[in-house]
Amino acid sequence: MTPVDIFLWAVCPYISFTILIVGTVIRRVFFARTWTSKSSEFLEKRQERVATPLFHAALLFVFFGHLGGFLIPKTLTDAVGFTEEMYHVVAFSMGGLAGTALVLGLALLIRRRFGHASPRRIRANTSAMDKVLYVVLTATILSGFIATFSNASGAYVYREGIMPWIRGVVALHPDPTLVMGAPIPFKVHMCCWMVFFALLPFTRIVHMFSGVTAPFKYLRRPAVVYRRDEGVVAAAAVPGVGVQAGVAERPREFPRGASYGEHEGARS
């Protein structure tokens, strides 16, 4: 086990996850105003029609495939008599299909944003961070795609290497020896997603978190949202309650008949 192995497989994941979590929280709390997918459907719609739904649907499929692999240990499938061969056939066929759709969707998105047919409106409104994001995203997706298809035979059993390793990382017991022997495409894929996670809080990708929380709140809430804006201000302005510095002292009740032209002078 070389220092490089330790750095890559026992230190980097924590750097990546720390930046992901801390960065996301900071952005959510202090920069909520910048939290958006920055949709460009408003600027170009025709090409988006196929590209975006295909990409996102495939990505969700791939995400849940990865999650399944992470959550279901080999010991469990072995225990119920589900052999490694059967698992590989299922995982490879479904993952391969979703991966192909994902690569296709990504290709269409790249074509829309950077390609020959890319509208000027899109290109003129692609930020530097968008470009970095596309490079890292493409590298992550392509390396995963290549890793999957280069291992079509199932010669490398990642369920005995990568999956226990990532479970160990999450359990704070990283064991680099589990992944040191992984084929290069898998290693590249792992490095890519670590970079991607570290980049995520600083990009428009944060919009995926709104997709996780908002719908559930939305499905439960009443149609019309009422909110009082005066709340804090009014409470602070009630005489005797302790007027905050900087808050104009103002009675809760207003002079009868106060309206335009009659209200007391300039507001402080």
Partner: protein, 504 residues
């Protein structure tokens, strides 16, 4: 009964001269930042016309507003919550910038930096989306004053409207020899927009700050809210996540997507002005003095039932019932119990808006059939008498005017011509009454007392500033606090302050 206060507006279309001052002052106040150039929180449309954005009234295309299910339940026309969430990655009903117009500026610098040339230098247009030179093919007001009648013909309201049928066809025949063809009028004939029948009026539009707002109901983030204290509908720029559900959901297309910040913005009803007792900037600067602002008290418990009225033509009448009588002691008690300040109750009792809408029955909401219960109402316009009827002496009634009653009915009463007729005939009665006072003609036969007609004349024709606006003040924070709160109340970030954080 739960009574809340709503700041409301009435526009007297009779006096709109289409000067666009309201749009310009609004634009300079609110939407002169990058990403907002294409937005007009307030715009003035020439009618008939396609409006802004183009074709906004065609709800078969945008699926805006609410629909009443067979079960009697209201649902957003765009579908239930799950259906709409599934449209997240590609929403067919989402408008594009070209539905509004591609914003541009001009190369003004060339006028001063140009070297010596044989021809005068020209400031050429440049796109504000790409920075490239562009050909201007559409604008926020491309069909102003019926520019290109081919465009006006696309007005969806013309599909169901018919030309005016004058009170007596015999009169018409007597007045216009050889125009027997006109006898077909009012028998289902379509408005042809022929030269001799051409009509035109202006329709200023802002956000309606609806009682049953579809944009609020459509927002998955809960970022859009209706303020309890004054009914203003605002979008928190902190909470907005850029789902854009609000844009197609608003049937008036008055929620806009800022492509630069990735968030939605809309008319704020100039809430900082309201809070200091001033009317909105569009109303304040209106050259024709046609905008009225004041407080309405409404019963929250009646909102859903009114929006669920089975007959679309009955919705605006149901709204009259939602708007509570501020002189009713029970209403006043409920308002105070609900936290409406005394000054607001007093303002509601002296509200020009209440007078126009409910006491005098002169105003109607725009497209109440969208079921959002809009709180900006309109006094339908009178118009010149049809030229072929000018032989008749005296003032005409509603059916002899140039703007077909059925066209106005499509806009303001879901196709029911009766309320339009009633209002225009009342406006005619005000004029006849004033004429009677000036020249000694007999008083018009009218269900309104001479005192009421005088009061209508003062409010509609004289329209003094202190009579038009009755806006009570609200608690206001310090300047620093107000600045801090502005983003949660809908004022989008400037591009530069956004770039200071994260640019992606």
């Amino acid at each position: 009964m739960r009574i809340r206060a709503q700041i409301s507006m009435v526009m007297n279309l009779d006096k709109c001269l289409g000067c666009h001052t309201c749009s310009i002052t609004c634009k300079n106040a609110w939407t002169n930042r990058k990403g907002t150039e294409y937005m007009y929180f307030n715009n003035v449309e020439t009618r008939p016309g396609v409006g802004y954005p183009r074709d906004w009234e065609n709800q078969d295309r945008w699926l805006g507003g609410w629909e009443l299910r067979d079960s009697g339940k209201l649902r957003l026309r765009g579908g239930n919550k799950a259906t709409r969430l599934l449209k997240l990655f590609y929403n067919p009903e989402q408008p594009e910038v070209d539905d509004y117009f591609e914003p541009w500026t001009y190369d003004y610098e060339t006028l001063t930096t140009s070297g010596r040339t044989r021809h005068q230098p020209v400031a050429r247009p440049r796109s504000l989306l790409t920075g490239d030179r562009m050909e201007i093919e559409w604008g926020p007001n491309w069909d102003d004053d019926l520019a290109g009648t081919q465009i006006a013909r696309q007005d969806p309201n013309l599909a169901h409207a018919t030309p005016n049928a004058p009170a007596s066809l015999e009169d018409v025949r007597a007045a216009v020899d050889g125009m027997a063809a006109y006898a077909h009028a009012g028998t289902g004939e379509r408005i042809r927009m022929d030269m001799q029948d051409l009509f035109m009026k202006y329709l200023p539009r802002t956000c309606n700050h609806c009682l049953n707002p579809a944009c609020v109901a459509a927002c998955p983030s809960g970022a859009i809210y209706k303020r309890e204290e004054d009914g203003v509908v605002l979008i928190s720029q902190d909470a907005c996540r850029g789902w854009r559900e609000c844009v197609p959901a608003c049937p008036y297309k008055k929620v806009f997507y800022n492509w630069e910040t990735g968030k939605s913005e809309k008319c704020t009803f100039c809430y900082p002005r309201l809070e200091s007792g001033q009317p909105t900037i569009c109303a304040d600067t209106c050259v024709g003095r046609l905008r009225y602002m004041g407080v309405l008290l409404y019963d929250v418990d009646k909102v859903e039932a009114a929006a669920s009225t089975r007959d679309p033509q009955g919705i605006w009448r149901a709204m009259l019932d939602v708007i509570a009588d501020p002189h009713d002691p029970a209403v006043v008690a409920a308002a105070k119990a609900g936290g409406v300040p005394d000054a607001w109750v007093a303002a509601a009792q002296d509200s020009p808006v209440y007078r126009l809408i409910k006491e005098w029955g002169l105003a109607l909401p725009l497209h109440a059939e969208y079921r959002t219960l809009p709180m900006v109402w309109y006094v339908p316009p009178m118009s010149p008498v049809l030229s072929r009827l000018e032989a008749r002496p005296g003032l005409a009634d509603a059916d002899e005017m140039r703007i077909p009653v059925s066209y106005l009915a499509e806009l303001f009463s879901a196709g029911d011509p009766e309320p339009i007729r009633a209002i225009i005939n009342r406006l005619v009665a005000v004029r006849l009454h004033m004429r009677a006072r000036e020249v000694g003609d007999p008083e018009p036969a009218c269900d309104l007392s001479p005192e009421t007609l005088d009061a209508m004349y003062r409010l509609l024709a004289i329209a003094r500033r202190e009579d038009r606006f009755r806006v009570p003040t609200s608690p206001v924070a310090s300047r620093d606090e107000a600045l801090d709160a502005q983003r949660t109340r809908g004022f989008g970030a400037s591009a530069t302050s956004l770039k200071g954080g994260f640019s992606a």
